[in-house]
Symmetry: C2
């Protein structure tokens, strides 16, 4: 029954943002969508930031959390997206966290090409709207920030799983 372990399948990939096409075995794009449908989190924080003219910083983030025994899969996702950091989430849980407008624009592009299948898609669509506004610099204006707050409030409407603390819906953190 272990024949597939002895003969590893070389997987196709229709998306290769990191250009690492010399990988022996890359994750399949559809596998990534399925896994993120189960385990991914699209999150937008708004933090107090007095050093910024508008006083607030918009911090979008894509996150996948796993028990530390599955850290290898987070590293493969990191390699797949070509960005992000694998760090401790809390306790024995690790997370892949992707931040940065350019990196997240790539993530958004991927999930537009390969749509999510669960209701997490509605959170993603809000997230994508925020990224698009930020690409135009709208998060640096009062009007844009108000619009982003409205979008975030839509993300709060139960599209994610409340039983998982790490998959929490976006909140406005007022630290800093």
């Amino acid at each position: 029954m272990l024949e597939y372990l002895e003969n590893p399948v070389v997987l196709k990939s229709s998306y290769n943002p990191s250009g690492a096409d010399n990988q022996q075995e890359r994750l399949d794009a559809d596998w990534v969508v399925g896994f993120v449908d189960g385990e991914g989190c699209f999150f937008v924080g708004i933090n107090r930031q007095p050093s910024m003219k508008i006083g607030w910083q918009v911090l979008p983030e894509f996150r996948v959390v796993q028990h530390e025994r599955d850290v290898a899969i987070l590293e493969r996702l990191q390699e797949f997206f070509g960005s992000g950091q694998v760090t401790v989430n809390h306790g024995d849980r690790k997370e892949l966290r992707i931040r940065g407008l350019q990196q997240l624009s790539e993530v958004v592009r991927f999930f537009k090409q390969h749509p999510l299948r669960t209701v997490k898609r509605s959170s993603f669509e809000c997230f994508a709207e925020v990224i698009e506004l930020m690409q135009h610099g709208d998060h640096l204006t009062e009007e844009g920030l108000t619009r982003i707050r409205q979008i975030i409030s839509r993300m709060n409407r139960g599209a994610q799983n409340p039983q998982r603390p790490y998959a929490r819906t976006p909140v406005e953190a007022t630290g800093g």
Copy 2:
């Protein structure tokens, strides 16, 4: 940004156990693997069953649990595998549950062709061993039952997520 909603992608599927090839949009096999890597559970129960000669019944089960808002994805998985029941798990959670040796043999065949990527694969391999033994009727002999108990004890070694009650590792239920 909603172009992919207006132009739904017709997905490929290299596996079609239900023969439902007239579906407009089937789940992709790799998506299913990714989703099950995140959300699936391979479970083997052993229940006291006085009406059986050996006194115990081996009850393997494949299960995917979601919040009820995502019941549609469970129905699509049910359609994908061509078997199983979608029922209440607990509270506002629903589950797709596949039982029965013939149905589970199909599930095992699928995940042998399309290997899981997380450590859940080790639970699956134990599960597949149990199914194979059952295919030979070994669960009806003392020796086979002992072997199955040994395999189940290997499944208990932390391959699943203890923080999710529905993804619990196999236990031996001794109810009537």
